[in-house]
Symmetry: C2
Subunit: 464 residues, 2 copies
Amino acid sequence: MKEVVDQVISAQWIAPVMPDPTEVRKNCSVVLNGGVITDILGSEEAKLKYNAKEWTDFENHMLIPGLVNAHTHASMTLMRGIGDDEPLMSWLQNTIWPIEMSLGNEDFCHDGTMLSAVEMLKSGTTTFNDMYWHPSATARACGEVGIRAVLGMIVVGFPSSYAKDYDEYIQKGQSTLAEFLDHPTVHFSYAPHAPYTVSDEILTRLGDLCKAEDRKLHIHLHETEDECNSSEALDKSPMCHRSEFAGRPIQNLERLGLLNKNLVAAHAVHVKDEEIALLAEREVSTVHCPTSNLKLASGFCPVAKLLEAGVNVAIGTDGSASNNALDMVAEMKTAAILAKAVAKDTTAVPAATALKMATYNGAKALGLGDKIGSLQVGKSGDMIAVELGARAANTPVFDPISSFVYSSHGADVSDAWVNGQRVMRERRVTTMDEKDILEKAHSWVDKINALNLDPHPNHHPKET
Amino acid sequence: MKEVVDQVISAQWIAPVMPDPTEVRKNCSVVLNGGVITDILGSEEAKLKYNAKEWTDFENHMLIPGLVNAHTHASMTLMRGIGDDEPLMSWLQNTIWPIEMSLGNEDFCHDGTMLSAVEMLKSGTTTFNDMYWHPSATARACGEVGIRAVLGMIVVGFPSSYAKDYDEYIQKGQSTLAEFLDHPTVHFSYAPHAPYTVSDEILTRLGDLCKAEDRKLHIHLHETEDECNSSEALDKSPMCHRSEFAGRPIQNLERLGLLNKNLVAAHAVHVKDEEIALLAEREVSTVHCPTSNLKLASGFCPVAKLLEAGVNVAIGTDGSASNNALDMVAEMKTAAILAKAVAKDTTAVPAATALKMATYNGAKALGLGDKIGSLQVGKSGDMIAVELGARAANTPVFDPISSFVYSSHGADVSDAWVNGQRVMRERRVTTMDEKDILEKAHSWVDKINALNLDPHPNHHPKET
């Protein structure tokens, strides 16, 4: 008598990522029941053992855990590509901040998140870690699309269209948290923006809340040299941390007791050897954002050194206003190849390690390591199918993990499941009308253009 | 009375690249007649002026010159992804060279080029600059697919399955050249592999042939630090140039009179300030291959400095065995963002400059600057259509050039023309059966696997 289950998904290859990131099983099936992976077995055996309400046979595909975009600002997608190639401060002052002040309301954040969610699902990301204004609007959008997210309850030391002071930021975040408590796929972290925008006192308060609630603290940290040098000199410039302590921000967080396993440090580009050792010892997770670090000329993160020291390094796209894409497949490749050049070692961050960083390490950074990030019995049904060898660009296939990491792009992801729900089928999002989402995004262009900003006040983009 | 022409192609945007790389014209049409661009004008005006045998209206597209992949080894695509993440010498000795010795015949080069040509056309490359064994087979494949190419008459100072000595390399190249003389889209260069594989005497002989025939000399140059240091020390190691001159290869080529406008230097990663000035003065073209330089840990090319000095810098993917893709759209983005981080300047290599590098600079490097590389009246009909704003990933569109360079991938290219022939229509190659080409590529996997090589002799790929 065969067992009846919700779904069986059979594929040519399965890369479970954990416990062995290099393992690829052939002709294998994943069984989903009640949103959870209940079995992984050979496809022939599966046919004898199971009857499924839905049985999917993939001919040229590899099943892998859904990708985890461990640092982004989803709503910023509506500002993608405006004011590119400008110096950072000019870009913020002449473009980003005026748009946020005039238009950055709940609707903006909802529609921006919808656009990002579609882009992410269609390139294999099933979970993202966010930090932006109006997390309530982002939460609502995530619930509608069915993408998993950890939303930062953002806290910044200046007023915005979202909140006027520290207390209101924290109170608004917590009321959103209460609204979505126990939501199966919408989770929350505390998200003080950065040491240079949030005071020591508030950082400590949020750190205490994280300990009490077993929650992650998501922060930008050591992204630029300026941030480290200004804090060390305590020069009170815009990038100097808001502390009376003269030292690098990591030293200060250590002093405040905030370097611990709750900490998710986005970027961590400028880290000295002794800082790397400290991050490892304190079980901090870092999120490497290679494209953003290059495009904003922030610097070169020593990824191989961090991994070697035992730091849990995840991968993020950062916001699409400074990338300008949310494609974790491209980001994995950039992370893998850049790490080799920085380490001067072709064997640094091989394909399987890049895949693990983009899945399990991300899940672990977000506090979801026991729930998602690998294909293992008992884990949630968060998974994607990637088509290999059916398009010239990833043909032939000698090693499916290498084909995925080095030769594929986001659109090779054909199907996606979150919590057992098939949110993308044959490259179409099942939960929403994509056309409608694109039309809404285009309509924001008119509103932004009506502001009559000049994103290039001093010059046209340089010609050569 | 309307004028009858072969084709009119109307689009929402046209970026002609030259004379102004930042220019984008709206609602514009390109007129093709006899394979040549005969007019570029507003679409309303075009309707009054022309009758076309074929009139195409693109709603969400931008027309741009076809991309030029200025350095690759097309046939190597059949070895894509085998032995990844190994040290360079181990990879060559245990994987690449044994495959080339056993299987690298005419058929291999033909089928590999077919696969590469499909991949390149489908990601917007209409011209590539090649260097590999059996250029006759590559020439035949290019003719069949209708892609434009400059094929290197390869010369190496050791025997291969292709030729036994310098004389045979040169003679075989010249007989292929004679066979394809005056072919409209298949062109030739002399291609001594590198200073460390070809003697001074032969380099000089090839340089003279280039001068006499007004032809380009395509060579790997200053790709690694090892090559520069070994040549300076004259240590006779495998990376030392084959010369009695103790000095860096660029100095040696200057001494031999080979630094001139015929020279196309692939990579040029390790170049000192005085070498950059010399390359500019001698009108040498260089080809930046960012993905390959990162993946092989070769180093960081000072692209912004080269451009500022006036060097003509093109972009190449290198072979797909060391990339592992031939996607010039991805390569443009990597070139643009990496240059900013290397120069520590967010304004270095803006989107329009990256696009010019990938089109006009490539054409100029290949000696085709008066024929292709920009959309201008009198130039050949080598052009692509890129779809923008119809997919979440490149929506919204504030600046079409930025959308293309930073937010698009190869599959956003929907149509391609070479010499006026529409070689891709709505994402399908019109000249060949793509399925047939993929099947042939897959069949080479069996032959390669039958060699029973061990691409990872010392270890499995590193896990973390």
